[in-house]
């Protein structure tokens, strides 16, 4: 067999292998190859029942309905930019509370109430001076599946009183001026919609 044919065959085989490797994994319910669930067709933030980091029960229904707007920030403990913006998120939370809104965090490591992860998350929050509520829930709940679809960190969602997503999620630290502006626009939109 001459070299070119052999090479072509080998490359075809490798290509087929790669498609098979992906094909086998890209079943819709697998979490191995995730596409971002950032499309606008996902209208509602999934309802959840979970706990905050101190173990108090939290219910998404109550959480969202008590506020005109809720900003939900996904982060994890070893993510540099996530941790870098925690202090600013705390300031934003205080600002929002004056406007009938609030900010909550969801640390991806703390899902299922992993004790070590919860302790580490509390430690980081304390170190950065962030006092706002952080919640967790089961990873096999609807919200857990939603959370596992978040693969770019940090990601921030804006949710209105009825639990609907407002606008597109913001990827990356909201401390970037461009991102902070988009976020404030969406927050304002939610507040206005709530009044009207």
């Amino acid at each position: 067999m001459n070299r070119t044919k052999f090479a072509a065959l080998l490359l075809t085989a490798l290509f087929a292998l790669s498609l098979a490797a992906c094909g086998a994994k890209s079943q819709p319910d697998t979490t191995e190859d995730m596409a971002p669930s950032a499309d606008a067709s996902m209208q509602q933030f999934p309802a959840f029942e979970g706990k905050d980091l101190d173990g108090n029960a939290v219910n998404s229904q109550d959480l969202f309905s008590e506020n005109a707007v809720t900003v939900v920030n996904f982060w994890f403990t070893t993510c540099g930019p996530c941790v870098g913006e925690l202090a600013d998120l705390d300031a934003l939370n205080k600002e929002l509370q004056k406007q009938d809104g609030r900010l909550i965090g969801i640390n991806a490591f703390t899902l299922d109430g992993n004790e070590t992860a919860v302790a580490e998350a509390k430690d980081v929050l304390a170190k950065t001076g962030a006092s706002y509520t952080n919640v967790y829930f089961d990873s096999d709940s609807e919200a857990g599946t939603f959370a596992s679809g978040v693969y770019a960190y940090p990601t921030t969602y804006v949710v209105d009183r009825s639990g609907n997503l407002v606008g597109e999620p913001i990827l990356g630290a909201v401390t970037e001026p461009k991102q902070m502006e988009s976020l404030k626009q969406m927050i304002q939109q939610a507040i206005d919609q709530d009044k009207g």
Binding site: F76, T78, C79, P81, Y151, A152, L171, E176
Partner: protein
């Protein structure tokens, strides 16, 4: 010397490499790598 200097260095480093790898995995470093690798490290690719 039964072993040349080169061979001795190879063996020592090979053993050290195995020991360090095993120790690192045992103390959870591979998990840290996994979490960083499966979530989009925005700063790594020069975004934000």
């Amino acid at each position: 010397m039964f072993l040349s200097k080169r061979t001795a260095a190879q063996l020592i480093l090979f053993a050290a490499g195995i020991a360090m790898t095993v120790f690192g995995v045992w103390r959870g470093e591979a998990d840290t790598v996994l979490y960083k690798a499966i979530n989009l490290c925005l700063e790594c690719v020069g975004i934000g």
